[in-house]
């Protein structure tokens, strides 16, 4: 479905992203996970051609055999919305405040299909029903500010899948929402993906959310893929030291009987913070924050591939195959 090879993004002469190899099989749900500033969102936007003009993108992103990066703005516009849907992080800012809901949900339908008039309205109502919004018929005439955050994100999802795309890119779709609403939106995304056989590229900083939604995951650090594989392999048997550090920083859930112990536990943090653009060390990008760094880490680690496509780039891997 999606084959990324040697994808690089340069801004102001700095290489922000370099993804050597990453695949998303048809119908699969791939998670991109990493800290703020790791480059996961930028990778997602680069794939959809939604980066600002000052970002220089090179490499290949094969989508169903065609290289997306070779397309110009007008050609890309014919794919976006039609074959690739995109859901953004902040629904309140991603909906046009001056345009009615119906108009925004129907935008992709008007642009990419032959439907007209009444048929468009019917389709919009059907979409709003699918994303489980109440009273869709009157909702089409309302404006974004009249909806709650969760409802707005459902509208964004309806607008993204309006022209039946084969791939949905969701960039931290629940980060701006309440925890209870989060779970509902995640369930909705999973069921839509299963009903429609729609592949999903899911960006999140939360490994728990990734495990819930995705079947494969890529851990991104400094614009590189540190580790990738099935969700179970990467989360239960991490090899890259960054993945383990990220997992250790996650406190997990309190056990019913011992809440006090949960609240009393020491949280692990990753020392330091993600370096600014252009300040990453040579060789392994994580080595200045890594507890296991050695002299070898000064040169770039070559990827090691194990069973089921479990691939990592680390000189001193933890765990075992």
């Amino acid at each position: 479905m999606l084959e990324i090879r040697d994808l690089r993004v340069h801004i102001d002469g700095h290489e922000i992203i370099h993804i050597d190899e990453l695949d998303l099989p048809p119908g699969a749900r791939l998670g991109l996970v990493g800290e703020s500033g790791s480059g996961k969102t930028m990778t997602a936007k680069a794939i959809a051609g939604l980066l600002p003009a000052e970002a220089k993108v090179s490499g290949t992103v094969r989508f169903d055999g065609n290289d997306l990066l070779a397309l110009n703005d007008a050609q890309f516009a014919r794919i976006r919305g039609k074959r690739i849907g995109f859901v953004f992080q902040d629904p309140a800012r991603s909906l046009n405040p001056m345009m009615r809901i119906g108009r925004q949900v129907s935008e992709a339908i008007r642009l990419h299909t032959d439907l007209k008039g009444r048929a468009i309205t019917d389709k919009v109502v059907e979409l709003l029903t699918q994303v489980q919004l109440p009273d869709p018929a009157s909702l089409v005439r309302r404006y974004p500010h009249q909806l709650s955050g969760g409802q707005q994100q459902r509208v964004m999802i309806a607008a993204a899948i309006a022209a039946d795309p084969e791939l949905l890119i969701a960039d931290e779709p629940t980060t701006a929402l309440d925890v209870t609403v989060q779970a509902e939106i995640l369930r909705l995304l999973i069921s839509l993906s299963e009903e429609r056989q729609m592949s999903v590229l899911f960006v999140s900083h939360d490994l728990g959310v990734i495990r819930y939604v995705c079947d494969r995951v890529a851990v991104i650090y400094g614009g590189h893929v540190a580790e990738t594989g099935s969700v179970d392999d990467v989360i239960d048997r991490p090899r890259h030291r960054y993945t383990s550090a990220l997992l250790a920083a996650n406190p997990g859930m309190p056990k019913d009987d011992d809440f006090a112990a949960f609240m009393g536990q020491r949280l692990h943090t990753i020392p330091g913070s993600v370096p600014a653009v252009g300040r990453f060390p040579s060789g392994c990008r994580f080595r200045n924050r890594c507890g296991h760094a050695s002299a070898a880490c000064a040169s770039i680690p070559s990827p090691v591939t194990g069973a089921d496509g479990h691939r990592y780039s680390c000189w001193n891997p933890g765990g075992e195959d």
């Binding site: 959809a48 516009a77 039609k82 991603s94 607008a159």
Partner: protein, 318 residues
């Protein structure tokens, strides 16, 4: 929407009332004795007193104010001391050239600025956009009277295409009317277009960076398509405000331009009436200009509600 409109209307009426008081008080505090102007310094005290009674300027200010307001409402403001014309009729007669050049200025400068500003915003990092920025910088700096004189020199004196000045009323010869306002409108729009271009540019650049613009592109809009279908309307809110403010600039500019081009409009009347100590004329003209601006602000208020559903909802819920 109706409540929003009614509230704006109430604001308009209240502001007009307060404004009329301010205008009246300020003009009457200007000083200068009209009787001395009319009769000369050698006039006897009896003549002076007779004149003062005749003009009614010894009455309390409140009475004079109410008398003036009634005059405005009934269309009877008396006659000019010095020139003998009927004040109300004269003001109405002089509205036409002023309205023609100010509205003409709006009609030219707003679409032009929208075009130039959007072009400059979508080409912000390129030379093409930069050329427009330079033009708007220069345009802001050129004074209207100088631009007017230059235009007269080139198009009227040197080339002889257009009249050097004067005005032909619409009722006499519409074609000549248009010919007589071309140069004044050009002189008047130059600065306003330049300033407005810069506002359009800033507003469009801001909007182009909004998340919903990227979301529109994600649904299949091209960059230009998103700018057109989603950007312009969102950029219009700040622009409507600025456009209304620019109208005040246009009226101020009209005073200058009417004098350069010898147009018999409000602007020229203000100058002659002020020099002639025609208190009633000056305060009536000030009132007319104030009403212009208040009505325009009222229209802008209404426009906000039409443009932005959030403002409409807020007004309804209050």
């Amino acid at each position: 929407m109706i409540r929003h409109t009614l509230r704006s209307l109430a604001t308009l009426l209240f502001a007009a009332l307060v404004g009329s008081i301010v205008v009246f008080v300020l003009v009457n505090m200007l000083g200068g004795d009209i009787v001395t102007v009319l009769l000369g310094k050698e006039a006897g005290p009896g003549d002076v007193q007779f004149m003062r009674d005749e003009l009614g300027i010894d009455r309390p200010l409140v009475v004079q104010y109410l008398d003036w307001l009634r005059g405005v409402a009934t269309g009877d403001l008396g006659t000019s001391y010095g020139m003998g014309y009927d004040i109300f009729d004269e003001i109405v007669r002089r509205l036409e050239p002023t309205l023609m050049i100010t509205l003409g200025g709006l009609l030219v400068s707003i679409p032009l600025a929208l075009l130039l500003g959007t072009y400059s915003a979508t080409n912000a990092k390129k030379v093409r956009g930069g050329v427009i920025d330079v033009f708007s910088q220069v345009g802001v700096a050129i004074p209207a009277f100088w631009a007017g004189l230059l235009l007269v020199l080139v198009f009227a004196v040197r080339l002889g295409w257009l009249p050097t000045g004067g005005y032909v009323p619409l009722s006499e010869d519409p074609i000549e009317t248009l010919r007589s306002i071309i140069l004044p409108v050009m002189a008047l729009s130059l600065g306003v277009t330049a300033v407005f271009t810069r506002y359009v540019r800033t507003a469009m650049i801001d909007v182009m960076n909004e998340d919903f613009m990227r979301a529109a592109m994600a649904r299949g809009r091209t960059r230009r398509g998103a700018a057109l279908f989603h950007g312009v309307r969102n950029a219009s809110i700040p622009l409507v405000t600025v456009a209304a403010l620019q109208f005040g600039q246009l009226i101020a500019g009209a005073v200058v331009v009417e004098n350069v081009f010898v147009l018999p409009g409000i602007g020229r009347l203000i100058v002659t009436a002020t020099l002639g100590r025609e208190v009633v004329v000056v305060q009536s003209l000030a009132l007319v200009i104030m009403l212009f601006i208040l009505v325009l602000n009222f229209l802008v208020d209404i426009a906000y509600g039409f443009l932005d559903p959030r403002i409409r909802d807020k007004a309804e819920s209050q």
